[in-house]
Amino acid sequence: MQLQRRYNLPNCTLLVDGLADTTGEIGYSQRLGVLMNLDCYLSGESDPLSGGIDFLTSLMAAVSHYAQQCLSGVPHPQCQAGASPVQIRVLAPDQHELQVYDIPPQAPNPTEPSRRITLNTVQFFDLVEALDQLLADPLTLPQLTLPLNPLSRGDVAEHQPLIQRTAAPTLGIASLATAAALFFFAPVPEIQRPLVDPSLPGQEGTSSQNDAETAANPPGTDAENAPIHTRETLLALNSKIYEQIDVAWTEAPTYSENLTYRVSVNAEGEIRGYRPDNDRSARYENNTPLPDLLTVAPEGSTENLTDFKVVLTPQGRIEVNPWHGFPDDPIVPVSGETSVPSPETTTVPTVTSPQLERGEAISDPNVLKALNEQLRSQLDEQWTISPSFDNSVIFRFEVDEGGRIVNFAPASAGAGQYLSELGFAGLKISEPEAASGGYAEFRAVFTPKGVIEVSPWDGF
């Protein structure tokens, strides 16, 4: 028995002629099982596209892949598979060309399509929908199924044009060559010696970084703009980077070894660039939150960037450290209960800020007690976020006789990264009065249960 089905959409009509499938169960006499002819009428075309089952399956495959390409924006090479008699390509954002070949084009001898039909997006969608309705109809050609599968990573990489794949390395080599040529003519920069004794360990990194940036500045610009960081500013940037990555990191790691990136940030801690430190890190770059965190400097502005080393572990841990290390580490380790430092060594030596004239260390137990309590309540007030750490975090504070925080520094491993969470960074007075009266140092222990224990660094 001959059957006919019609799928009608505003811009596309499918007419399916076929024979009833009588081999199946009883009650399926209305099932169109064998296709005799398909006519596909598209708006604006007087003649339909016609063909048999091979034409229908080619049309379905090309249309389905092209529809997926419209949805995901990822090119599906199957829309233009060489051997297929139906191919679809983009003409303009809103124009799609359907090409039908009598003889499928083979690579060596390309043939002209017998039909070219231009469709806009709505017209193309009607073609998709008519074919999808045919597929969904259990009484028409039930053996046809819609094989919807996402493109694999390999498909996407394989079909990227060679020029696209080689563009990045070529550009890299070209810019390196240009930079090398330019720097050849640049004068040898004068080296600014750091203000402090360069023999101090850890200073080398900073000074060589300054040299490098002096060299990078075009002649005539002032090298004083180069970022010179104190321990505190580095710490603050450090914790800002940590916090950004911590918040944005939602994807479970798919890598099994640590990834390392060199991340450049501006003075506000906004990430302006990053560079994978090795091939593995480059490969898994998109599995990290870094691409999302990238920000762009406003046009025409010049910023000084500072580099940090960011390590992401497969366990989901984030390690952030200045690329050139901290300027110096005068902090007495936590375990050093017995090593009582002299006041001179406890003030943090910095590259830029001249040493403050210090008064006497306060030793009156009553004053110490009052300051102790004052500091504790100040810290308590600022700490509003429930702790994310499992082990106590220790900071060392220096306060003046009025109880104001003059300086602070982490005194336990990794304490710096909780700086923003603990919230006290803003309490530090920016302009400590030189040669002020006495000062005192305290140890503050922040416990995971939310308790703050404050005691004088050298005991009462």
Binding site: Q68, C70, V74, T121, V122, P150, T250, E251
Partner: protein, 208 residues
């Protein structure tokens, strides 16, 4: 509509064995991690954003459809749905929670269900845009199209983090309009018979 929205959110979730029927047609993807890829999270949120820009009651409709499709066990309540949408990395307050496949499927099902109800305005706006293009006119010349674009821009700007490089690309009205029109075209494909499957599968193109 007799659906009641006053029921308090269930505190404990029912067992995961009861997968709502609308989601059974969406295949599980062999993901390497627990969470859906970045592009999927971004795309789902933007599609829902476009629906809100098309339909004044869009955000309420999203919740109602969640109820009608029996997706409450997955989407729990209003705040949870908001948190899931905020797994879009472009968001101002992006959330550090994974978007699991059942959750993503539920949002895809809602988006496509709403898209189907909005078939007429979606087609109308796309055809209007096409006509304006042919005449060389800007979208501002069509009242409803201009309205959609304006609302999309306002939603996008108020919710996305302007400091992200991926958001900064859309720093002027024209570029945001192009994004809004691009998503409108994607919405058209979501309205179809196989729209839900097509949209779901497209989220993983090049990711597996």
């Amino acid at each position: 509509m007799n659906a009641s929205v006053t029921a308090p959110p269930p505190v404990s979730t029912p067992s995961d064995t009861s997968i709502p029927s609308v989601l059974s047609s969406l295949p599980d993807m062999p993901l390497r991690g627990h969470s859906c890829p970045r592009r999927a999270r971004q795309q789902i949120d933007l599609i829902l954003l476009a629906i809100e820009a098309l339909d004044l009651g869009g955000s309420e409709a999203i919740l109602l459809v969640a109820q009608e499709l029996d997706l409450k066990p997955i989407l729990k309540h209003r705040v949870y749905l908001w948190q899931l949408r905020s797994t879009n990395p472009l968001r101002r307050y992006t959330q550090r929670i994974p978007l699991t496949q059942p959750e993503a499927k539920a949002m895809v099902a809602i988006a496509c269900n709403l898209a189907r109800r909005l078939t007429v305005p979606i087609r109308e706006l796309l055809l209007a845009y096409q006509k304006l293009e042919e005449k060389g006119l800007s979208p501002q010349h069509h009242f409803r199209l201009a309205d959609y674009l304006e609302r999309f821009r306002a939603h996008f700007r108020s919710r996305m983090n302007p400091k992200r490089a991926a958001v900064m690309v859309y720093n002027d009205d024209d570029k945001l309009n192009q994004l809004a029109l691009g998503i409108l075209k994607q919405l058209l494909f979501c309205t179809g018979t196989a729209g839900t499957q097509r949209f779901w599968v497209s989220l993983f193109d090049g990711e597996l």
